[in-house]
Amino acid sequence: MVDFFQNTIDGVMIGSSYGLLALGFTVIFGVMRRLNLSYGPSIMIGGYLGTVLYLNHGAGPLVVAGAVVLGAAIAGVYVERLCFAPMKAGAGIASMVSSFAIWMQLEQAAILVLPRHTYPFPPLATGATLEFGPFFVRIDHLIMLVCALGLAAAVQVTLYRTRFGLALRAIIGHPVAAHLVGINVRRAMLLAFAAASAIGGVAGFLVLAVDQQVTPMFGMWATLKGLIAMMIGGLGSVPGAVVGGLLLGVIETHSQWYFGPQFRDLIAYVVLFAFLVARPGGLFGRAPSPDITTPQKA
């Protein structure tokens, strides 16, 4: 029983990083209605920038964190300018494939700068733990959870309590009408994209600091985990992204504990598939049909 609760705690902690990744994804998908496959690799670029500063200039965790977030946001803006801004309505697949091409580009750029398979990444709180009776919680995990909940709240407040959020929701609801009432759609999209990538950067920094290593595979990992958590939680829902992430984390730790490491991902995918087939809207979604192959209908 202790194991069960400890696993659940670990799952929630690890899941908070998935939730953070899904949060950024949700903002991008919500605003663009398009899939940015380069989301993870953008974060990886931030991670590599932070690693370079750490290795060559001995930067501390705060500077590294800033560099990761900034790097991710810049890479995100680059992706938006190249793959999303110039695409016409109805070219959703082209945007997606284009973002995949940029993924290849970013990955090779990272390998050129740091060619080894893995590099060390500065730890946060060096894996210290807190004890609650029989249970342990890592401090860096706790920071991750707090960040996830805090950022989710911030995104929710921004969307529903600010003018910028109002503009974004107008764009989500009807981009053409939003343009007609004087909202600068292109600028809002760029801002949303940069903000989403920066949120991803926060997630990336925390995950890398917990792992204490960075690899070029991080990009694919981040895209996949963010995508799964977002789909389980429900497309376009901010609470859904966080809850989906936490649920994914709990499922993964339990399956790893009871069935072994290979079943960890297997069961996560089985759950995802089952969710999509039985309840495509996820936990919080309203099961709309955001068809990325056709332009948004009025």
Binding site: L35, E107, L227, I228
Partner: protein
């Protein structure tokens, strides 16, 4: 031809099969991130058939295609009502499940004092059919392209047939197609099955070409690549995905001098291309224009009748 060229051409041919399988689904309006699963299933099925059961290659390839197609139908049925991103992620989830299952899959028997067969994450070595039967690389290349030619011919016939029109109609507007009395479910499962079989043949050829497969060959990268080929080359004709493969593998070879930077250059080029031509180089409009030009200059081309006129309305002119 030297070995190197034969190797590159063989690779282009084999990858074309999975590109065509993703393209067929794109025609019906579905994005699949999971064609690599059927490629993997075909590769393992055909490899097991020749290496473990001693089947002839022809039978093994047919078997791989059949298993690939059957698996695709099995996935196609529960995912019928999913569209767009939902369908894409469902196929992705399935493909990753398949990949992980192959990491757990062990089936080895002793042949001539040696263990042969899939060994989990360590892969499936010694699919030695072409060595045991003295088939050289060039003969195998011819085999690949003979099969590819048959598949392309099939696509040409498909585009001219009622079935092809229905596929594109579903891709254009499913509801409208349904109103025309087309059985959507039936045709979507059919398209999924054919595309699974295509990927299965490709997988079988790949396994025998390299003599060695391992689960991580079949990860998301392969699936997204095969999807991208159709979009780079163009969605107007089955030659589009082939052109995409040729550009990716062929052109990359020719800019070998820049080997450290090639993905940077190539990725940028693809992104720029898609801005200018969001439905690829050979998109519907280009194909339509070429077709019209051909009909004008060719004395023995079919005159546009009721049938072809209809098709042009359906397939051309997407904005």
């Amino acid at each position: 031809m030297d070995d190197y060229l034969i190797g590159v051409l063989s690779n282009i041919g084999v990858i074309s099969f999975i590109a065509l399988s993703a393209y067929l689904l794109l025609l019906t309006g579905e994005i699949s991130f999971g064609q690599q699963a059927f490629f993997a299933i075909g590769a393992y099925a055909a490899g097991i058939a020749t290496a473990l059961w001693g089947w002839p290659l022809a039978l093994a390839l047919v078997w791989g295609a059949a298993i690939g197609g059957a698996a695709a139908v099995l996935v196609g049925i529960p995912t019928l009502r999913l569209h767009g991103l939902y369908f894409a992620i469902a196929t992705l989830a399935f493909a990753e499940m398949v990949r992980i299952l192959f990491e757990l899959f062990r089936y080895q028997i002793t042949i001539d004092g040696e263990l042969v067969g899939p060994d989990g994450a360590d892969g499936f070595r010694n699919i030695r059919y072409i060595f045991d039967n003295n088939i050289d690389a060039f003969q195998f290349l011819l085999l690949i392209y003979a099969l590819l030619a048959v598949v392309l011919l099939g696509f040409v016939l498909l585009e001219r047939s009622r079935l092809g029109v229905i596929f594109r109609m579903i891709g254009e507007d499913e509801t409208l197609a349904g109103l025309q009395g087309v059985s959507i479910a039936h045709h979507k499962v059919l398209a999924a099955g054919i595309s699974g079989a295509l990927a299965g043949i490709g997988g079988g050829l790949y396994a025998h070409l390299t003599t060695y497969v391992e689960p991580r060959i079949f990860d998301v990268m392969l699936g997204v690549h095969s999807l991208a080929y159709g979009l780079i080359g163009g969605l107007g004709t089955a030659l589009g995905p082939l052109l995409g493969v040729l550009i990716d593998i062929g052109v990359l070879e020719s800019i070998r001098a820049l080997s450290g930077y090639r993905m940077i250059i190539f990725g940028g080029l693809v992104a720029l291309l898609l801005i200018v031509r969001p439905r690829g180089l050979l998109d519907e409009n280009v194909v339509h224009k070429i077709g019209r030009f051909w009909r004008r200059i060719s004395p023995w081309a079919r005159r546009p009748g009721l049938n072809t006129g209809n098709r042009n309305n359906l397939t051309g002119g997407r904005p």
